[in-house]
Amino acid sequence: MGWAIALHGGAGDIPLSLSPERRLPREDALRHCLNIGVNAIKSQQHALDVVELVVRELENHPNFNAGRGSVLTSFGTVEMEACIMDGNTKRCGAVSGLTTVVNPISLARLVMEKTPHIYLAFDGAEAFAREQGVDTVDSSHFITAENIERLKQAKEANRVQLDYTQPIQKEVKLETHAADGDSQIGTVGCVAVDNHGNLATATSTGGFVNKMVGRIGDTPIIGAGTYANHLCAVSATGKGEAIIRCTVARDVAALMEFKGLSLEEAAASVVEGAPRGTVGLVAVSPSGEVTMPFNTTGMFRACATEDGYSEIGIWSSEQS
């Protein structure tokens, strides 16, 4: 027993050659966010408050694809989405299509707590944000120079493969690496179990570069990118459409519940079962276990448990 926390800053084709100038700030940010989470848990905050707090911090960090730093749609705009879920009650809230809300994760929590609904999107969600008085800024705040460049590169690379106005060419291998090699990587998330065994999960993202306007990914879909119940809390990241099809987050819980697998076995089974290069996730159990499997090249991740274990990593141990 005891608390545990894990967080991620996206999984994908993170090149092993990632330069220190790109790697170190992200590792620092992961360490910083992990410390914030650990301190919150140690000061007896509820798991739900902890995951919200950590994800807010990740959203505020411009190097991750959520909140400030969100990648751009094909129109050069941001459309952010987020989701939060409480394990013991299975209460949950989700938002999509946000353009001005500084911390989407906190709006998701307000949807959960202040409306009869679970999920608000686009204009309705923006109107709700104003009604609730959450921090909003001009949409340009979220747009970094780096992401304008990424969009430009993605548009050039995607013109053939992903232009939906053109017939899809079968089996075209996607070679869409932007120069920095991590333009497709997105999503931040945090899962936690506190000293009282409360489980919670939160996930937030800007989606993927050059996405169609209005596209909703796995992040706000309960059971796909985000899920928690009494057995585990899960936050997933990777290729959204694959995660939706595989109902990744719910399946970790379902394998524990229906097949009696352990957290680690269940998470590994789901990640192995998904197409290679598509999925990573972080998960915790009520007894304080933590697991962070991925079938991509890498996943920005960090975790800590009450018994003193702590890890910050990008690639798997054999690679790095």
Binding site: T115, P116, H117, I216, G223, A224, R245, A254
Partner: protein, 297 residues
């Protein structure tokens, strides 16, 4: 083993005082849609085409809450949502917040006079039960003290007569054992603009895989929390349950306090309707000649 099967629904949670002629009208529509699907299956259309065809027909008829006849948002507008999923390869697509439909008609086209009246009633009911602009501390007292609405038959805090539950859906397994599911809805009467419910959420309102196809209807938030449609497939896959057992289990164990219903087919040509509401508009048929259209238990 084998053979095609089809089921359609027009929502779970039915007003027990629904006039007889409305009941007959609903049954006729369900039967017509079943026939449409059956003909398509007999002409060897794949399951995915059949579910789309049938749901389009249900959307076009104003009787149920989808397409024309959709429930209204608090602003009196229509925001429709739908999803479709093909069992083989689990390909899927979903939309939400639609105001003009595929054929680009005016939003007014979807608004029926009946629903304008229902919205007024829903607003009155919701102003007591869960107006989110009222601080939540009042909620407990309101919940218990909803003396104005003592009828036990409520869904999502609305009297059942106002609730407009009639999401539509169709599940099909074709002769080759391919399963598909489709669900379409106008959502909850008096919903906040921008609200997304279970219907477009893969795994919640709609799911199909190699084993089965499932379409759900009812209290959206309970269906989302229960990842209801995926759950039917998950207990078949991970616990080895048959379709009947899986549907029974999910309706009994996965809804907590929520009220909902679902239709499901398996790759073996079985078909099941399950619900814990007081009724569900539904119809089903199989290749061996079985056909049923019903509303009550």
């Amino acid at each position: 083993m084998g053979g095609w099967a089809i089921a359609v629904h027009g929502g779970a949670g039915v007003d027990p005082n629904l006039p007889a002629e409305r009941q007959e009208e609903a049954k006729r529509l369900l039967a017509r849609c079943l026939d449409l699907g059956i003909s398509a299956l007999r002409s060897n259309l794949p399951a995915i085409d059949v579910v789309e065809l049938v749901v389009r027909e249900l959307e076009t008829d104003p009787l149920f809450n989808s397409g024309r006849g959709s429930a209204l948002t608090e602003k009196g507008t229509v925001e429709m949502e739908a999803s479709i999923m093909d069992g083989p390869k689990r390909r899927c697509g979903a939309v939400s917040g639609l105001t003009t439909g595929v054929e680009l008609v005016d939003n007014e086209y979807f608004i029926t006079e009946d629903n304008v009246g229902m919205l007024k009633l829903a607003k009155e009911a919701n102003s007591i039960l869960f107006d989110y602009r009222i601080p939540t501390v009042g909620l407990e007292s309101c919940g218990a003290g909803a003396a104005a609405t003592e009828s036990p038959l409520q869904m999502n805090g609305l009297l059942i007569s106002v609730y407009a539950p009639e999401t539509v859906g169709c599940v099909v397994v074709d002769q080759e054992g391919r399963c598909a599911a489709a669900t379409s809805t106008g959502g909850l009467m008096n919903k906040m603009t921008g609200r997304i419910g279970d219907s477009p959420m893969i795994g919640a309102g709609t799911y199909a895989c190699d084993l089965c196809g499932v379409s759900c209807t009812g209290e959206g938030e309970a269906i989302i929390r229960g990842t209801l449609a995926r759950e039917v497939a998950a207990v078949m896959e991970y616990k080895g349950l048959g379709l009947h057992e899986a549907v029974d289990y999910v309706i009994k164990e996965r809804l907590d306090e929520g009220k909902a219903g679902l239709i499901a087919v398996s790759k073996n040509g079985e078909v099941v309707c399950g619900f814990n509401t007081n009724g569900m508009f539904r119809g089903c048929a199989t290749e061996d000649g079985f056909m049923e259209v019903g509303i009550w238990e």
